[in-house]
Symmetry: C2
Subunit: 394 residues, 2 copies
């Protein structure tokens, strides 16, 4: 029974990045008399993790990992067969990006099938999954599951066909009631797949909805660049205005024409991380007619003197009566911590109600998954969150 | 206008692997006075392609690419700044996997955002996109687009939650008519994402349906392993039977409960590539009560004496009256070419009608995309394919 349970947990854990990915790393080695294939990363029973790389000709291999606070990395050690090894931890259960640097070239772990890809050229990373004692809040649990739709839509704003990921909650297909919508934006190195592939948006929402913490909602994840990141932009201006135009004029109408959603501002929210957090504040605070809930996760905020938000600051009363949620969060090891804190202070000094949640951690998905779990129930609370809110007065 | 058109083509080309990926590779270098970032791969106007890697400390860098018939690869050359370069081609328009091997360690191209991930541990590859003069059959064209649903379902057969990708054709949401279903299986290093991420199933079907070559159909892409590839299997048997049990007892019922599809054998087809081609023949030919169309793409077929297919061979009449399509294809550079040809000959010698299509090429997605384009209209023809079929007698 025990190994059966373990298998179920393992199988549940697989469901995210791609069907099989999240554990070949924990699978046993080869069969019969064949030499065991190299295992990396190997999570040991005490949650220390061993990383291995076969590189006999290399003279220097470094390991960097989000699981280490020191971003410089550690030197790996070579054995007489040319296998480089380092063991870290114990490491707290979570998902972490890591890389090897082989004689100056940064690479992903060839023995790990979970690859962290980006929307901008740059080194490939791998993802370490340190499992918890049971399923984590971002793991697939035995609860009803929603669907993620991969949708293409015509974007007149950018004169192109664009792609969005759209989450619908469990039972959406069979229901008839309208739902609120959260527009959820990725960061500068991501794309429309990032919140599902690395942020586990669908599993986090499945779990929140099953626990009645969050109300069933549709979550729309657009591609946050108007054009491929370094493509020529025909108008000569920055991407931001064209992305905003696409969102307003093409994506929101597409969602409203194709999904059973409310179309009033009271049922529309926007949130985003890093670059997408900056876009969220820029778009959300300047379109109070469209959004009633706004959240920035480690947002790339405008710096003082906050010229772009003068109009908002001048009309605090309208902002306060319009926004049900204005929520900011950032990790203390994030270089954006002070700017985000100062932006919150600017809002407060302007008389604008807002919440700033300082957390631990850096500019990573570790925080963004937690922030989504925390803010989704504040935006569209489920029965349990509403009861809690009434009893605490929050 | 010209640059605008180019932009549209570029934007259309982006839509596959992830929103932005398919062209950062073709985007211009840096801005202003900053040094231009390294471009790799760079597709030149004559379709030669230059690959570049920054690795000053490396002493040997090799390039391997599906675009070369020689699988040994070519040596790249280092300049005085430590940039390694190789130029290949001209290369025919298509999508190709490639890798660098740096002092014996195989890596993806750090400057290319299109990463080829696998379901089994192994080196990471990158994807080269050599564009055609216009959109290719696997590119997004300005036609109506279907949706790919990322679905989780309970699998009692494997005691786990599993994931499938399910394509529904343009207009499915608004329609009311039932549709035929194709179950489409990936290969040994793939997973349920592979046919969309690398096979472009959705765009190929969108284009075939727009041209009335294929009828609107639902395409179900399961995860072809019952368990993570090298995980322990509780029953001690191979994965095949448990995958088949999951497909029969859990996935097909899930699809029929959640999608507007016909449930009779005449509207159900199965196809697959490599390992999935072997599964397709094994499952399809032994379940004539369930499937009326069966296609193996470079299938990993059973070898003579074909014990597993004795029962089929003994009942050719029933097979012929049951199957509308029994189709096999393989490339002449594929090590499976002779086994597939021999399997077709075995079927023919047994009196079983079948089509074997020998093509050029090797064991790659280049062929599998073409095979899907060729066989989908044979399985469920659109109006244009039916007219063509009537006029040629095929």
């Amino acid at each position: 029974m025990k190994s059966r349970s373990l298998l179920i947990l393992l199988a549940l854990g697989t469901l995210v990045q791609t069907g099989a990915q999240l554990h070949a790393q924990q699978a046993p080695g080869g069969r019969g008399s064949a030499p065991a294939p190299l295992r990396s990363p190997e999570v040991l029973p005490d949650r220390r993790v061993t990383f291995r790389l076969n590189a006999p000709k290399a003279s220097d291999v470094q390991l960097t990992c989000e699981c280490m606070r020191d971003t410089k990395g550690v030197a790996m050690k070579k054995d007489d067969k040319g296998i480089w090894t380092a063991t870290l931890g114990p490491i707290a259960p979570d998902l972490y990006e890591y890389e090897f640097t082989v004689d100056g070239v940064q690479i992903g772990d060839p023995r790990n099938i979970v690859v962290k890809y980006n929307s901008r050229p740059g080194p490939i990373s791998s993802v370490l999954n340190v499992p918890g004692d049971g399923p984590m809040f971002y793991d697939a649990k035995p609860v009803p599951h929603g669907t993620v739709d991969i949708r293409l839509y015509d974007s007149k704003a950018t004169n192109s066909v664009r792609r969005a990921y759209i989450y619908t909650p469990p039972g959406y297909d069979k229901g008839s009631n309208k739902l609120p919508v959260l527009y959820l934006l990725h960061g500068a190195d991501g794309d429309e797949t990032a919140w599902v592939a690395f942020g586990r948006e669908n599993l986090i929402l499945d779990n929140l909805i099953a626990e009645h913490q969050a109300a069933p909602m549709v979550v729309v994840m657009p591609f946050g660049y108007a054009y491929p990141p370094s493509a020529p932009i025909p108008t000569g201006r920055t991407q931001g205005p064209d992305f905003e135009k696409d969102l307003m004029e093409n994506l929101i109408p597409f969602v409203q024409a194709n999904y059973r959603v409310y179309t009033d501002r009271d049922h529309r929210a926007i949130a985003g991380l890093s670059m997408g957090g900056g876009q969220t504040l820029q778009i959300g605070l300047h379109h109070l007619d469209l959004f009633s809930r706004v959240a920035g996760f480690s947002p790339a905020v405008a710096r003082a003197p906050y010229d772009a938000f003068k109009d908002i600051a001048a009309d605090a009363k309208k902002v306060n009566s319009s926004l049900k949620v204005l929520w900011l969060a950032c990790g203390s090891d994030d270089s954006l911590f002070t700017p985000v804190k100062q932006f919150s202070e600017f809002l407060t000094a302007s008389g604008i109600n807002n919440t700033f949640v300082p957390s631990t951690g850096a500019h990573t998905w570790i925080n963004w998954r937690h922030y989504l779990q925390e803010v989704a129930p504040k935006m569209f609370p489920g029965d349990a969150a509403m009861k809690m809110s009434r009893s605490t007065g929050n």
